[in-house]
């Protein structure tokens, strides 16, 4: 099957001297869930932001469902309207209600009518278990609730793939499950997902492959079961022993 997300030999520098990504290659097929992990500062956030063009790259090529992300011909707003992204700190729009947060992209970017957007928002709120909070502002919600709204905001655009950048690492422990449950549900329904996370339980349960990054390189890209049974690289072994220790 033709891959949904393709990164080929991606190089990226911050400034002139610091190469943050070194020849990174990766592909995600439709319906696949790929988890990216690795030590802090290894370039995971940078990599995932490159996939929807939030960060420009200096070398290599990225495509999503045959749409160019890199290169002069890339239509980034159009591309991003097809690719959902969920951030570590939720980044809901604080001046809008929950419903407005979910509708703004639908009405302004996709050109849906208000009624259509609100119906979609209501359905998504139901699915993430947040119907009672439709008219609240983000500040009135807990972190876990905000992240579920952020997922609904991304889903409202009917994305072909979803990108997650450590969606649960800013949450209090008791709220992690409510967010992971939503993500597991999406994975089971066949959503294509690229997920940066250290939640190894989530990876075990739904990931098809685990990508391990270190020092700006994709060190290893292994089917999930093999990764947990015996990582190929020494660096991954060390990393796993550290995060599974507690």
């Amino acid at each position: 099957m033709k891959p949904m997300i393709v990164l080929e030999d991606v190089d990226k520098w911050y400034g002139k001297s610091f190469q943050v990504l070194q020849s990174c290659s990766l592909s995600v097929s439709p319906g696949e869930v790929v988890v990216v992990c690795g030590p802090s500062g290894s370039g995971k956030s940078t990599l995932i932001k490159c996939v929807n063009g939030l960060e420009p790259v200096q070398g290599g090529r990225i495509t999503v469902k045959d749409m160019e992300v890199t290169g002069a011909r890339a239509d980034l707003p159009k591309l991003r309207s097809h690719v959902g992204m969920v951030f570590q700190h939720f980044d809901l729009f604080p001046h809008m209600t929950v419903t407005e947060n979910i509708c703004i992209g639908q009405t302004k970017v996709l050109g849906r009518s208000r009624a259509e957007a609100e119906a979609k928002a209501a359905a998504l709120l139901e699915r993430v278990g947040m119907t009672a909070h439709a008219r609240k502002y983000p500040i009135q919600l807990s972190g876990g609730q905000q992240q579920r709204i952020a997922i609904a905001r991304a889903l409202a655009m009917d994305p072909v793939a979803l990108l997650f950048d450590e969606p649960t690492s800013a949450l209090d422990p008791e709220m992690i499950t409510e967010v992971l449950d939503v993500m597991v549900g999406l994975a089971k329904e066949g959503m294509t997902m690229l997920v940066v996370t250290h939640e190894m339980g989530f990876a075990r349960k739904v990931a098809d492959r685990v990508v391990f990054m270190d020092g700006g390189e994709v060190v290893e890209d292994t089917p999930t079961d093999d990764f947990f049974a015996a990582p190929k690289s020494q660096r991954a072994v060390e990393f796993l022993s550290k995060i599974l220790a507690h």
């Binding site: 939030l54 707003p77 991003r80 604080p94 703004i104 008219r135 502002y137 983000p138 500040i139």
Partner: protein, 231 residues
């Protein structure tokens, strides 16, 4: 010594010549603030643009305007420039001076308002597919406005009073007209108190308007107020 003249005071309180002067003050303020806001946005964009030379030009402009008194600028524009063959009417000179000043001060206010919006917000806006213009309009500007409105309101209040400086180049606003009447009638205290009351009336009215605007852009930031609104 002449005492306080109540009849004279009340007469001037409703005098159309003074009232027109107050209307001119209001008109100058509205014009200076709205044109200054547009020009101020432009200067702020220059200050924040990635091009070094544009930053420098904008910086030089605000440095120059904020570092010299409006009084001196007005005299240069109205009385000095004709020496070089550049002539402006009183109204033109006044507007140029006021707008240049507001643009310089407002650009700083606008710039700090825009930079107060976290980077995560622009990333989130782009991530749903917004263009830069849509991101500015729906996400950044409304959030920046909440930060900008209080100092902007102070600027409106300040501008209402600062217009009086234009009386020095014989702009016929509230203060100038008050002075003209004083020359004729010698009721110094009564007339200045009338002028002061008009200024007070205008600044107070603005205060009420500003509070409403602040409430509008404050939604989503005050848990108690937002929760009460939903009941």
């Amino acid at each position: 010594m002449k005492g306080w003249n109540w009849d004279g005071f009340f007469e001037y309180l409703t005098n159309t010549y003074i009232l027109e002067g107050a209307a001119v003050t209001l008109g100058l303020t509205i014009a200076a603030m709205s044109l200054g806001l547009v020009a101020g946005c432009f200067v702020a964009l220059l200050r924040m643009s990635p091009f070094r030379i544009l930053n420098k030009i904008a910086y030089f402009y605000t440095w120059l305007i904020r570092g010299t008194p409006l009084l001196v600028q007005l005299i240069i524009i109205y009385t000095g420039l004709p020496q070089l063959g550049i002539k402006f009417s009183v109204l033109e000179a006044t507007l140029i001076g006021l707008v240049m000043n507001e643009a310089a001060y407002l650009s700083e206010i606008i710039r700090s308002g825009i930079s107060s919006v976290p980077k995560g917000q622009s990333n989130a806006a782009r991530a749903v597919g917004m263009t830069d213009v849509q991101m500015m309009r729906y996400i950044v500007a409304p959030q920046a406005a909440r930060i900008i409105i209080p100092p902007l309101g102070n600027s409106v209040n300040g501008c209402l009073k600062t217009t009086s400086i234009a009386s020095i180049i014989s702009m016929e606003e509230l203060l100038r007209r008050t002075q003209v009447l004083i020359q004729e009638k010698f009721m110094v205290l009564e007339l200045f108190v009338v002028a002061a009351l008009y200024y007070l009336l205008m600044t107070t009215a603005w205060d009420l308007v500003q509070r409403r605007i602040e409430r509008h852009f404050g939604r989503g930031y005050d848990i108690k107020a937002d929760t009460a609104e939903q009941r």
